[in-house]
């Protein structure tokens, strides 16, 4: 039988060739890939404007092969709102860490969703401040040690992890709010579908869309990349259950 070569996987066009500054095994890279793949599949590269946060992914604009802006810490949803309102024809997305989105940027993310801004938010929940060297995030697990919770997060003093998908699903302006994980191939595939649906939400004008991705930070968790994936599945998922928190009925029919 004659055979030919089939490409099962190749680097997406929506990524540049630049080597990332992420630590080995950090799933920021995985998230980037998924977004790039989805944008390729939907043919949106030349139409998209990304908004990078302040956080480890601050240089995201060097890795995505499309127009990008860099927001102030936490303000990416406001910046995206500004862009989308004057350029509704563009596909606008933010990429934000948990410090960025859930701590300093809490007001902006809540209001972007309340307004039902037609933007897509990719939210990287790695339970830590990666960029500044491992401080407690709003999503840090109870008891987890960080440089600013050196005795383990004491919920009496430092409060409880914030569940953004749950919160944003309360908002009437939200069209698509889900939580996924990046800890193994199956979950990564599910995450990609969610990213696709989030962009579909925007393309159809169904309001605010957010995909929360449980992500690893081997460096600041102080464990190996592989152990970090185990930490996600064993420690994070129980606190941040995966699932669909809000899905506009119009999206249910889409097959991706």
């Amino acid at each position: 039988m004659n055979t030919t070569t089939q490409v099962v996987y190749e680097r997406p066009e929506s990524l540049t060739g630049t080597h990332t500054h992420y630590c080995p095994g950090c799933t920021h890279g995985t998230a980037h890939r998924l977004i790039a793949e989805v944008i390729d599949e939907m043919g949106l590269r030349e139409n998209s404007i990304g908004v990078a946060p302040v956080g480890c992914s601050v240089f995201a604009y060097n890795y995505f092969n499309m127009d990008f802006v860099e927001a102030a810490h936490g303000r990416a949803p406001a910046m995206a709102t500004g862009i989308k309102r004057v350029s509704p024809e563009n596909t606008v997305f933010t990429y934000q860490g948990d410090g960025d989105l859930a701590s300093i940027g809490m007001a902006e993310i809540m209001h972007a969703s309340a307004r039902g801004e037609n933007i897509t938010v990719i939210f990287i929940n790695n339970a830590i401040y990666g960029m500044t060297g491992g401080q407690m995030a709003p999503t840090t697990l109870p008891g987890m040690k960080t440089t600013s919770s050196p005795y383990g997060r004491d919920v009496e003093l430092a409060g409880f992890p914030i569940k953004m998908a749950e919160l944003l699903s309360v908002m009437d302006g939200s069209g698509y709010i889900v939580r996924r994980s990046l800890h193994d191939a199956k979950h990564i595939r599910q995450a990609k579908k969610a990213v696709r649906l989030a962009f579909e939400t925007q393309q159809r004008g169904l309001g605010f869309s957010m995909v929360e991705l449980l992500s690893s930070c081997p460096t600041n968790w102080g464990i190996s990349p592989q152990e970090a994936l185990g930490f996600i599945s064993e420690r994070m998922i129980p606190v941040f259950p995966l699932g669909d928190y809000k899905v506009n009925p119009e999206l249910k029919s889409i097959r991706v």
């Binding site: 030919t4 070569t5 190996s224 990349p225």
Partner: protein, 82 residues
Amino acid sequence: MPINGWIEVDDHHCKGCGLCVEACPQDVLELNMERLTPRGYHPAQMIEETCSGCGICAVVCPDAAISVYREKPQRQAKRARR
């Protein structure tokens, strides 16, 4: 078993994190401890020829360093849309 899949690892992107090695269901990957990439990492490599071309390694690779290819019977020979 005949070869029906293979991968290529891009030295420029691979950081030797080993996630592909752990994820490969055929157990055909390993980090090459003999070699450093220009950025100073031990890159992943195929060590056996029993790759199924399943693509799982590429799905888990955070650095999009892996390309995966598969031999296909000619009937379905249309190059997959990327």
